[in-house]
């Protein structure tokens, strides 16, 4: 099942050839990419050193994972497929000296934006496994249900972060697969939830986040899927002193999420994976994107755009945001 019109199939083939040659020539020990998932409209990360596996590599509108999360874990040289936000996460890891640029071969993919299956389900009123097909073509998408195809504008089904994407073409790559795609964005739609929250009063916002975080079950999917969260032992796993109890109480959940977002400030590239991974449908991106915007607003710093720049929290300007200091 390919979810792309025929003209994009050759990019997939180029990717497979590229990955195969990397492994055959021994330029990398592992290749990280996407292969078809075990469920409809899903892909799953493929991490392999076996050159025959590369034939499963795919590119389609469902390659959602930020694969750079594996870079801090895999030893040796790695060939990695990177979308726009993924490549910025790689740059951010390079800035943090977690990864050495020479050890990575980046196969960049200009990303036209990915399809959010939750939005498709809300739009069509059916669960994803009840749909026949979803095919994207430029700024339209055709969703087939019970044999009936219906066309929708793509902006109705793209992820919020894709709608607000500033760098769809990878910033850093060794090979670029396919030409930069026409960027379909809608910044207001992308920040719509955040603006709604900013419009609320202080007490309303607090009650909003209190309700959201009372659903959190502390599965840590948001932290473990985030490439910017690469600590050996997270502060919530500290027992001496025990800052935060590993118990899913809303107070501890809230402190965990807020401090995590401060820790990844200047590293988060708004790839939207934290919100997608959350099984309890907590709008984590409304927190992550807000932190991303704050960092941009306060320090004119866009995470993962300059390999040489020192990380946000280890640098300073002589005169910058201090209106709040007495």
């Amino acid at each position: 099942m390919s979810y792309l019109p025929t003209k994009n199939r050759d990019v997939e083939q180029r990717l497979r050839d590229e990955a195969k040659s990397l492994l055959e020539q021994g330029r990398v020990d592992y290749v990280i990419g996407f292969e078809p998932g075990s469920l409809k409209f899903t892909t799953t990360p493929l991490i392999t050193n076996n050159k025959d596996d590369v034939d499963h590599l795919v590119i389609n509108p469902f390659i959602v994972n930020n694969l750079s999360v594996y870079l801090t874990e895999i030893k040796g040289r790695v060939g990695i497929i990177a979308k726009g936000c993924d490549s910025r996460s790689i740059i951010s890891l390079i800035q943090d000296k977690q990864v050495v640029r020479e050890d990575i071969v980046i196969m960049g993919i200009p990303c036209p934006g990915l399809i959010d299956l939750k939005k498709v389900e809300r739009l069509v009123g059916k669960d994803r496994d009840e749909l026949d097909n979803i095919i994207r073509d430029g700024d339209k998408v055709v969703i087939t249900v019970d044999g009936q195809g219906k066309e929708y504008p793509i902006t109705e089904v793209l992820y919020d972060n894709c709608l607000g994407c500033e760098f769809p073409t990878p910033q850093e790559y060794d090979v670029l697969l396919g030409e930069p795609a026409p960027l379909v964005t809608d910044l207001t739609a992308s920040r719509q939830k955040i603006e709604m929250l900013e419009g609320m009063s202080q007490q309303q916002r607090w009650d909003f986040w209190k309700d959201e975080f009372s659903r959190c079950i502390r599965c840590y999917a948001c932290r473990n899927i985030c490439p910017a969260c690469f600590c050996e032992r997270c502060f919530v796993e500290e027992s001496e002193p025990q800052w935060v109890l590993p118990v899913p109480r809303w107070q501890d959940n809230l402190i965990f999420q807020v401090v995590r977002n401060i820790h990844v400030a200047g590293r988060c590239t708004d790839c939207g994976e934290c919100e997608r991974a959350c099984p309890m449908n907590i709008p984590l991106r409304s927190l992550a994107r807000k932190t991303y915007d704050l960092v941009d607003e306060l320090f004119h710093y866009k995470s993962g755009t300059d390999k040489e720049a020192s990380p946000l929290m280890t640098a300073y300007e002589q005169a910058e945001a201090e209106d709040f200091i007495r």
């Binding site: 809230l254 929290m313 300073y316 709040f324």
Partner: protein
């Protein structure tokens, strides 16, 4: 916001030992009058203050958190206060977005010679916290 008159805000102050802590000392030795609401924790530098300290303090029921360090350029470790400035800026803005009253997180530059300024900062912070009432953010258990 319930406000019985005798309620006094409890403030935790993270004071950098080189400047602000010395400033607080000076305020004491020069008999400067200032409210006794502040509990002082001496830190080696304002850059040592982790956002987790701020949230833990609010979680335990403090009404306000003050982080005070040396003026930019005077830091004993050259850059500690610059890092602190960035960290507190983001912490304060994000906590406002979450729904914590901005007055609960305060920051100030107080040098070792500014005993008066320290007294004035504590007075102002106490007054502001009195206006917005006690911290019941993390109150209910369920």
């Amino acid at each position: 916001m319930r406000q019985d008159s005798q309620w006094e805000p409890k403030i935790v102050g993270f004071l950098c030992r080189w400047c602000s802590y010395a400033g607080a000392d000076l305020a004491g030795t020069s008999r400067k009058k200032y409210p006794a609401n502040i509990r002082i924790i001496k830190v080696p530098c304002s850059g040592r203050v982790d956002p987790l300290f701020v949230l833990k303090a609010l979680r335990l029921g403090f009404d306000g958190v003050l982080v005070s360090g040396c003026h930019p350029g005077e830091c004993h470790y050259q850059t500690g206060n610059y890092y602190a400035r960035r960290r507190i800026a983001i912490t304060k803005k994000l906590l406002e977005y979450i729904g914590i009253e901005p007055q609960r997180i305060q920051a100030s530059w107080v040098s070792a010679s500014e005993g008066g300024k320290f007294a004035q900062v504590v007075t102002e912070v106490t007054r502001e916290l009195k206006e917005i009432g006690p911290n019941e953010l993390f109150a209910d258990q369920k």
